[in-house]
Amino acid sequence: MTAALEVQSLCRSFDGIVVADNISLSLAAGDRVALIGPNGAGKTTFVNLVTGTLKPDAGRILLAGVDVTAVSDVERVRRGLVRTFQITRLFPDMTVHEHLMLALLQRAEKTGRLFASLDSFKDAGAEADDLIAQLGLAPVADVKVRALAYGHQRLVEIAIAVALKPKVLLLDEPAAGIPHDEVLRIIEALERLPADLAILMIEHDMDLVFRFAERVIVLAAGKIVCQGTPEEVGRDPAVRAVYLGSYASRDRDALGPGPTVGRGRA
């Protein structure tokens, strides 16, 4: 079966500093993969490269087997590659319901309609209400997002992505910035995502990673340093080294393989 998303040898540097160093990975439909790594490891940059917001220096990106490296970011979204943002990017003056209508109508390619009333799109309206209810946002459906609690805003980020019915979803720290006890809401939302959706989640919250991911990829200084099941990665001394910050002072290649951890491309 062709991978939903395949990334081949992606490279990118800023002013000589390498932030994506020969990254290759592949996601199949239904995969739940976590991408972890210390601050500044290049996780968000990787997402930007895959979505097309940034141009890679080298490497290829394939969606459902089709090379999209030269395809625009907008077109990639239309082909089912959707991302969320680490720092919430919403439209402050729009209500939650309007956000979902916008996403649903955009997906249906109806946002060019000049003279149709929004209220006349009954199907989209009902679908928006459904999504809102699923995420427990019904009481704030008609509140402008600028007035929402940050945790609710994070849920709206996810709701928009779901409304776009992606085939591949890149979640950039969906639980960032919200109190630990509210992470549960995010987890519930993520667990309800369609089973055949391929998801790559960037996350620092290890509870969330362990609960969500079947496979974990560790990125440090733009390079994949190891990958495996959450348990395997958790045991890997290289990962500990990375998170303790001692990684930078050691020769990368001198890192012995962890006892049970597969390296490089899966």
Partner: protein, 336 residues
């Protein structure tokens, strides 16, 4: 994030004013129609002045489409208006006398001018965009000035004498026909534009204004949609220009000037951008000040307008139009 009690999804929420109220979009046009009729009855000697207000209101509404709804920065919007005014005026001098056809031609010319302007200024953003828009309006002004054989140059284009509306209603000395025609066009435009800003396209444009990159991330394009809005804006500005040519019988260089563009922006900020009716309020207040205060003191009226503008921007950043929303909140709950 406070825990949210589970509630059924599709039930209409209390306090939801923005959705599912049929006929809501007809409130503003109805109010305008009533006020317009009252003005006609109460001040029959001031109809030419009211017509000028309506022309300004149409022009400022057109500006609101690109500035208030799309976040484009422009001080060159008079290009769209002037194109409409000159197109209607020149065609009339050349023998086309049906006023509605002339206004329609003005609207088409406005669309063309809008597309050309969009092509140039949408390449840039923010300050460079503003500067480009000024360059465009200066170029248009110079072009109109140089082409004096067809535009009349700095003397203005005169000899515009359109026939009767529908072949029935002559343009009279008191400006009654002109006023009624202008009022009808204003109401029709208001109905159409309120529909547009509440359409999926209107929602998309609001998104583009607030965060274009986020729109791209949901699969929406920016440039093509802004060009489309510019074309629509040109249709309205060109209509206003055509209307002024038909109702006043003259077109001057001021109709493609930087000053007229800037005045429109002042009116928009005064009334409040991004609401359409704010554009109306701004046009009425500004043109009213110009008319009455300038009659009392022709040298210092801009001083008064300046003071008013500062007061409004500081005290009511959302414009005078926001007073209406503020008053509505004072009404008892349940009132429309």
């Amino acid at each position: 994030m406070a825990p949210i009690p589970g509630r059924p999804a599709a039930s209409p929420r209390p306090g939801c004013r923005s959705r599912g109220v049929p006929g809501r979009e007809l409130v503003a046009p109805t109010v305008v129609a009533i006020l317009g009729a009252l003005a006609y009855l109460a001040f029959p000697d001031d109809l030419a002045f009211f017509t000028r207000i309506i022309v300004a209101a149409l022009f400022v509404m057109s500006l609101d489409l690109v500035v208030g709804y799309c976040g484009v920065a422009t001080l060159g919007h008079a290009v769209l208006y002037g194109a409409g005014a000159y197109a209607a005026g020149i065609l009339c001098v050349d023998g086309l006398t049906d006023p509605l056809l002339l206004i329609a031609a003005g609207s088409v010319a406005g669309v063309v001018a809008g597309l050309v302007t969009a092509l140039v200024i949408l390449r840039a953003h923010g300050l460079p965009q503003l500067v480009l828009s000024i360059a465009v309006v200066q170029l248009a002004y110079e072009a109109a000035n140089k082409a004096r054989d067809i535009t009349g140059g700095s003397d203005g284009l005169s000899g515009i004498s359109p026939g009767p509306v529908f072949g029935l209603f002559e343009f009279d000395l008191w400006g009654r026909t002109a006023y009624v025609l202008a009022l009808v066009l204003l109401i029709a435009t208001l109905v159409v534009l309120r529909r547009v800003v509440r359409s999926p396209f209107g929602l998309l444009c609001r998104g583009i204004k607030q965060d274009p990159d986020r729109i791209r991330a949901i699969g929406g394009t920016i440039y093509g949609n802004l060009v489309k809005m510019y074309a629509l804006s040109g249709a309205v500005a060109g209509l206003a220009g055509g209307l002024t040519a038909v109702t006043t019988g003259v077109v001057g260089l001021d109709s493609v000037s930087f000053e007229w563009s800037a005045e429109a922006l002042v009116m928009l900020v005064l009334g409040g951008a991004g609401t359409l009716y704010g554009a109306l309020v701004g046009a009425v207040v500004f043109t009213g000040f110009e008319h009455y205060v300038a009659a009392v003191d022709p040298y210092h009226w801009l001083f008064v307008v300046g003071a008013l503008l500062i007061g409004v921007v500081l005290a009511l950043p959302a414009g005078l139009g926001s007073l209406a929303a503020w008053l509505r909140r004072l009404l008892p709950q349940g009132a429309p």
